[in-house]
Symmetry: C2
Subunit: 223 residues, 2 copies
């Protein structure tokens, strides 16, 4: 594999939250991979297009990851995407795989990255602003200071154990579990008051209209 | 206060990890505040200067925060810095306060931000790449996927309780406690093996020469 793969974090929505490095990486890439079925439905495509209108002059490929499927199906899908990426890299292409937020935090890109590395290929992650940092900035509040701990929790799984964590909790990806999460936090509130903030679609034109894919809850406990 | 204060996250070290928004905010500011005693000793100054050499044409002020002092002294120092910032804002200045990493995560800027807001002034945070995201990218590994939790822990405080946390633990700001932290992680390793990665000065010319101010430990547990 002579080509090079970049997992490019494009941040949570505001196009100006792209880093200079992300922009330069996209500029020098011949191929851009979008992680959705169609270009027009792809958030990361629209984010990049705002600050880099020439994205349409690149070779664009849509490679959607399946959501919430059985492990076997998931692995099959990853293998298929990897085969397509590998073909591009074998042709010597420089490829940017767009990722919402940061590629190291709950990104499906990481599977493809690992397979390229395992096959002795070239793959690099380009950091992006995580949604919880942008949410804190939008709210104008710090997430943590001094001795406080910060816990990032995927809220679509069982969250019961997380209610006793000290410090600040950020619940991400609540999806259909949003109501359940709210109930759990509200019943905890009755025992011990703490601040709860909600932000959704942070930095996008429809910011703060939950429920949505990029829903973030910041539960700030003072213990 | 007619002016506007921006807490600008400049990321962990690599100048190209500045966001477009951070760069634009610095460009439009008349005053730049550096959180150290001297310009030449200021990491965030050097980070910005690489991508924005005109920084020296701005009004530059050094406003160092004291490290590890008594609460009373700290509050006095914050009050003094706030008074200086307030004078600038009263003169209608647009002010960028540079912050390593992201302003919502362990940033002393947050105190000044809160005081400006409490006084009905204008203050906004501009997100930056947190060091742990850049560390993961430098290592080429994801921090978390699927149902995994991510815990950000200030390692200069008592970390005993954190050893039982599920998922990925990132220990930041270990400082003089670095050896103690290593010992604790190594003794835990004997009971249950897990991966430990270390990165320091991530993205800076002297990356990975611990111990240092920006030391980050990623302890990846597979539980």
């Amino acid at each position: 594999m002579l080509g090079k793969l970049y997992g490019v974090g494009v941040g949570p929505g505001d196009p100006e939250l792209l880093t200079i490095k992300a922009l330069k990486t996209i500029e020098k890439s011949e191929v851009i991979i979008l992680p959705t079925k169609e270009k027009e439905a792809c958030y990361s495509y629209h984010i990049v297009k705002e600050v880099y209108p020439d994205i349409d002059k690149k070779e664009l490929y849509c490679m959607p990851f399946p959501m919430r499927k059985e492990k076997e199906e998931l692995e099959k899908a990853h293998a298929e995407i990897y085969e397509r990426v590998k073909q591009l890299l074998n042709r010597g292409k420089t490829v940017s795989f767009l990722v919402i937020g940061d590629p190291s935090i709950y990104s499906t890109y990481a599977y493809i990255h690992q397979r390229v590395i395992d096959d002795q290929g070239n793959a690099r992650m380009i950091s992006g602003i995580p949604s919880f940092c942008a949410a804190a900035a939008a709210l104008g509040i710090p997430l943590v200071g001094n001795e406080e701990e910060l816990h990032i929790i995927p809220a679509s799984y069982d969250i019961l154990d997380t209610l006793s964590l000290k410090g600040t909790r950020v619940y991400m990806k609540s999806g259909k579990k949003l109501l359940k999460l709210k109930e759990a936090l509200m019943s905890q509130q009755q025992e011990q008051p703490y601040e709860v903030y909600t932000v959704s679609n942070c930095g996008m034109p429809n910011q703060s209209k939950p429920p949505s894919r990029f829903f973030v809850i910041l539960g700030i406990c003072h213990r």
